[in-house]
């Protein structure tokens, strides 16, 4: 969930950092501006980071702590760029621009992949959602249909069969939910 939130906001954070730092604002002031809100989980992270810096903790250590906390690759790369800027005085603006472009390409690819991967979800969902209940419905009425043919098929207790049917229906529903979960976990975060 955190990774999804991060991926949703990171591109806008990069653009804002680009605007701020490109116009001469320092890294700390740019982080402070983003920490004011509007960028979801990243704003919260930066707010915590600023709070600790204001308490006297070094920025380098805080950025390293944030790097450990981050889950999304793009977010990790941005924090790493900030860290390099703090420790080695690298050209952060140029790197952020390149990262932004690359991330945009990645996002476009992720959306295409998402659409392709979800192409099979309706079919899988319908296969499980239809085959399961069809078999279970026939099984459920079987004891009454087979009445009088005990010698051929053996005795079938309606109560036991209904327990099996109920369990089967529950598992079918759980299976459908599990397949549907793919739509959530693979979300590209638009």
């Amino acid at each position: 969930m955190r990774s999804l939130d991060e991926s949703r906001e990171i591109l806008y954070v990069i653009r804002t950092l680009d605007v701020l730092m490109g116009s001469g604002v320092g890294l700390e002031a740019a982080i402070h501006s983003i920490s004011q809100g509007g960028y979801g989980i990243i704003s919260k992270d930066f707010a915590t980071l600023m709070e600790n810096i204001n308490k006297g903790k070094p920025m380098e250590r805080e950025l390293r702590a944030l790097l450990k906390k981050a889950e999304n690759d793009g977010y990790k790369r941005v924090i790493n760029t900030m860290l390099n800027n703090v420790t080695q005085n690298t050209d952060i603006i140029e790197t952020l621009r390149k990262q932004g472009e690359r991330m945009e390409e990645t996002r476009t690819e992720a959306v295409k992949e998402y659409i392709e991967e979800l192409g099979g979800v309706p079919e899988t969902l319908l296969s499980i959602g239809m085959i399961g209940p069809i078999i279970l419905s026939i099984l459920g009425i079987a004891p009454q249909l087979m009445e009088g043919a005990e010698e051929l098929f053996g005795t079938m207790n309606q109560g036991t069969i209904m327990t099996i049917v109920n369990a089967g229906l529950f598992f079918t529903l759980a299976g459908m939910a599990m397949i549907g979960l793919k739509a959530h976990t693979k979300d590209p975060g638009l």
Binding site: P133, Q144, L173
Partner: protein
């Protein structure tokens, strides 16, 4: 037959409750659809507005003048909203007008753009280039969002129609045909289990199709109605086919 169906509803208090809830929730589901259409219309117009503003700034106009000119030119919802906001902003600062415009749009895209414009003005950053970059960014983003919508809408409708309509009809047909009630088949427990299953399956189908389109919360408003539809189709189907 009609009286038989009405009688069936009388014996199913849960189904009656879900039908009532479904009707009530579907009324609650309409405002999110209208709001989404409005918001997407604004967001789809945003790249063109940013591009026009960038061009106007390049031609030497100020941002406020450029916005006023664009508000006059743009006939869409965005232009109308911009015109309203600028008209109301005579008594306040331009920055306040931008914030007001962002709030009124109720769109996170517009809010981000306005925030970035305010920051750029504050920092004396090259606004023309920033607007051109943002126009390109948001055009790509909106293209992706529109593509996701158009590509997945059909699949999402397919899931709902098959799970909430096709499946209960098919099972009702099988049960009604092979175990008709008028021939003495006892199916109370069986029908009760399958009714609950169809309700649950419809809920899953609505959740999945809503999530596919990236709007599960607003889709869930329609869940009780589709649950009621699928449960009713099964009950009525068994009654009509099985007698």
């Amino acid at each position: 037959m009609i009286f038989g169906i009405l009688e069936m509803f009388r014996n199913e208090p849960l189904l009656l409750f879900i039908i009532t809830l479904g009707v009530a929730c579907s009324i609650g589901g309409i405002p999110p659809i209208i709001e989404r259409q409005r918001r997407r219309s604004i967001e789809n117009d945003l790249p063109a507005l940013l591009e026009a503003l960038s061009d106007s700034l390049g031609a030497g106009l100020g941002l406020q003048q450029a916005m006023m000119a664009e508000a006059d030119r743009n006939n869409g919802k965005l232009g109308k909203l911009l015109k309203e906001t600028l008209a109301e902003s005579h008594a306040s600062s331009f920055d306040a007008a931008l914030s007001n415009f962002a709030t009124k749009s109720r769109s996170s895209q517009v809010q981000r753009v306005m925030h970035l414009i305010s920051t750029a003005i504050e920092q004396d950053a090259p606004l023309r280039n920033i607007l051109a970059d943002m126009s390109r960014d948001y055009e790509r983003l909106n293209d992706l969002m529109n593509r996701r919508e158009s590509d997945l809408m059909g699949r999402s409708i397919l899931i709902i129609m098959f799970v909430s309509v096709g499946l209960p009809f098919l099972i009702a047909f099988i049960v009604g045909l092979f175990a008709p009630r008028n021939q003495g088949f006892q199916l109370e427990d069986f029908n009760s289990s399958f009714t609950m299953f169809f309700g649950g399956a419809s809920l899953v189908a609505i959740g999945v199709s809503g999530r596919m389109l990236g709007r599960m919360r607003s889709a869930l408003w329609w869940a009780p109605l589709w649950m009621a539809v699928s449960m009713t189709i099964y009950h009525v189907g068994v009654l009509v086919i099985g007698g």
